[in-house]
């Protein structure tokens, strides 16, 4: 029997003693793509941060357990968790620009995070990164690598963040609104690249997005969140075509549709 890639059991997360996410249960298999949609402020980022162990001092998982590849990430040692971050579970931030150190070049930071997990040459990292940049329509990779985050546009920073997470080929990739700052052409490329990664390496991807189009295009399963609760969970088609909850229905109705001809 294969171990699930991610398993959340009765997870409750509190900020300053105030619960924000309630009794959350979820399971993800290897190679699965999970779309997480929901109201803003419903706790999507919080769940991801909790799994990555990045809640900081304000937030705590007050109940429940989170298993990544069978390991309870809430209980393991700091360094073990660190080693998992990157190659085993990666994360694309909602706001990649500020998740980068503003006074070091992109190339430096990229190399640094690679080098922490395997012995690798700088040139090799640069090459890998440039290939990835190319794939998501970020030409002039050399300039990007030499740039500081503040010298790039919002979308460029976002893509840098995407590359930083994907370059490690993590088994489990969390993408927190990875494409909301990107124009649609790039968005399509990024999504294609993620799908390719799943195909090639069998990564599981949990993607948070407000774009129902993206969800229906790529996700196998969908989780809908509302005010800290998981209100609906199921196969993408089922949920989108046949929403059960009122909130889900509202959500799907509100999606603007492009009219072509």
């Amino acid at each position: 029997m294969q171990q699930p890639l991610l398993e959340m059991q009765h997870v409750e997360i509190s900020y300053d003693g105030k619960p924000t996410v309630f009794d959350f249960n979820l399971q993800m298999e290897l190679g699965e793509i999970l779309g997480i949609v929901g109201e803003s402020g419903s706790g999507k980022s919080t769940l991801i941060k909790a799994t990555m162990g990045l809640l900081g001092s304000a937030g705590t998982v007050t109940r429940g357990d989170i298993y990544v590849k069978g390991k309870n990430v809430l209980d393991i040692q700091n360094d073990e968790l660190r080693q998992m971050r990157g190659p085993e579970m990666g994360m694309i931030f909602q706001n990649c620009g500020s998740a980068l150190c503003s006074i070091r070049t992109i190339g430096d930071q990229l190399y640094e995070s690679m080098e922490q997990h395997r012995a690798i040459k700088r040139a090799a990292v640069d090459l890998l990164a440039m290939q990835l940049f190319e794939k998501i329509n970020l030409p002039d990779g050399e300039r990007i690598l030499k740039s500081y985050p503040f010298e790039l546009s919002g979308g460029m920073n976002q893509r840098v963040g995407i590359v930083m997470a994907m370059i490690q080929k993590p088994d489990l990739l969390f993408a927190d609104e990875p494409t909301s700052a990107l124009d649609v052409t790039v968005q399509a490329q990024v999504i294609r690249e993620m799908m390719a990664m799943r195909k090639e390496f069998g990564s599981g991807i949990a993607i948070v997005t407000h774009n129902i189009g993206v969800v229906s295009y790529m996700a196998d399963k969908v989780a809908v969140m509302h005010q800290g609760h998981l209100v609906e969970y199921g196969n993408t088609e089922d949920v989108i075509n046949n929403p059960q909850e009122t909130y889900t229905r509202k959500l799907i109705q509100a999606v603007p549709k492009i009219r072509r001809r």
Partner: protein
């Protein structure tokens, strides 16, 4: 129809070492009263830079900007403050645009207090704006790092509309919002547009959204405006190669 904003031949280049990056390359356009102008284009094509140039947060290398017929390209800091009564902007990165040491409510109130409004009044108005954007009153007492990305963006919108500007520049203002909230906000902006004749420059990636709310749309590529027209014209009948690609990519 009178133009609220008129931009002529605006240019901006950034210096990076020895190479020069032309972010905005001689663009001209105007926005009429009560109009919503969409600005779409690939990431890094110069949209945010355009927004920053119009608001004079970055100095332009060349070109002129007229607000209500008055040239504002070279006005001094004092006059600029008057300009800001009319122009407001929603920043692309909401979190960074809030002072980390000031509560959200306070930040929203700032512009009103600057216009001479009483604190109590400003506070009430701030609450109202936040509520309009779907944030309950306790968010006013939170610090930027204590809210989610979407909540921060909503606070940023609340801040921008608090002063009822005649021109609002939205730099990807709704990209981090779920569609229910997004439609709520757009409805709100629509109201402003109708009631007060507010104009809007909507920088956006979501073509469907553009089609829904904009009166006119411009497509920007490599610092230039390559195509302009009503959304339906552009989407149903794109002329430029890039625009075609853009539309085809919509999922």
């Amino acid at each position: 129809m009178s133009a609220v904003l008129e931009v002529r031949n605006l240019k901006k280049a950034y210096q990076k070492g020895k190479t020069e990056i032309v972010a905005v390359d001689g663009i001209s356009f105007e926005i009429n009263k009560g109009e919503c102008l969409g600005l779409v284009g690939e990431s890094g094509c110069g949209k945010s830079t355009t927004a920053k140039l119009i608001t004079r947060l970055t100095a332009a290398d060349e070109g002129e900007i007229f607000l209500n017929g008055k040239e504002i390209t070279h006005v001094n800091t004092k006059e600029l403050r008057d300009v800001y009564k009319d122009i407001q902007m929603i920043f692309q990165m909401p979190l960074d645009s809030f002072n980390p040491r000031i509560r959200l409510g306070e930040s929203v109130m700032e512009s009103m207090i600057n216009q001479g409004m009483k604190r109590r009044q400003a506070k009430a108005r701030a609450q109202e704006c936040l509520a309009n954007c779907g944030l309950s009153s306790d968010f006013a007492d939170r610090y930027p790092h204590q809210v989610s990305g979407g909540e921060c963006q909503r606070a940023s919108i609340a801040r921008a509309i608090a002063n009822k500007p005649s021109l609002l520049i939205c730099d990807e203002a709704t990209s981090a919002l779920d569609v229910t909230i997004q439609s709520q906000i757009l409805k709100l902006l629509g109201q402003f547009q109708q009631k007060m004749g507010m104009s809007c420059l909507l920088i956006c990636h979501d073509l469907a959204l553009v089609q829904e709310v904009c009166d006119r749309v411009m497509v920007m590529f490599n610092g230039r405006i390559v195509e302009e027209g009503t959304p339906d014209e552009i989407i149903m009948n794109p002329r430029e190669e890039y625009t075609k690609r853009l539309i085809d990519s919509v999922l």
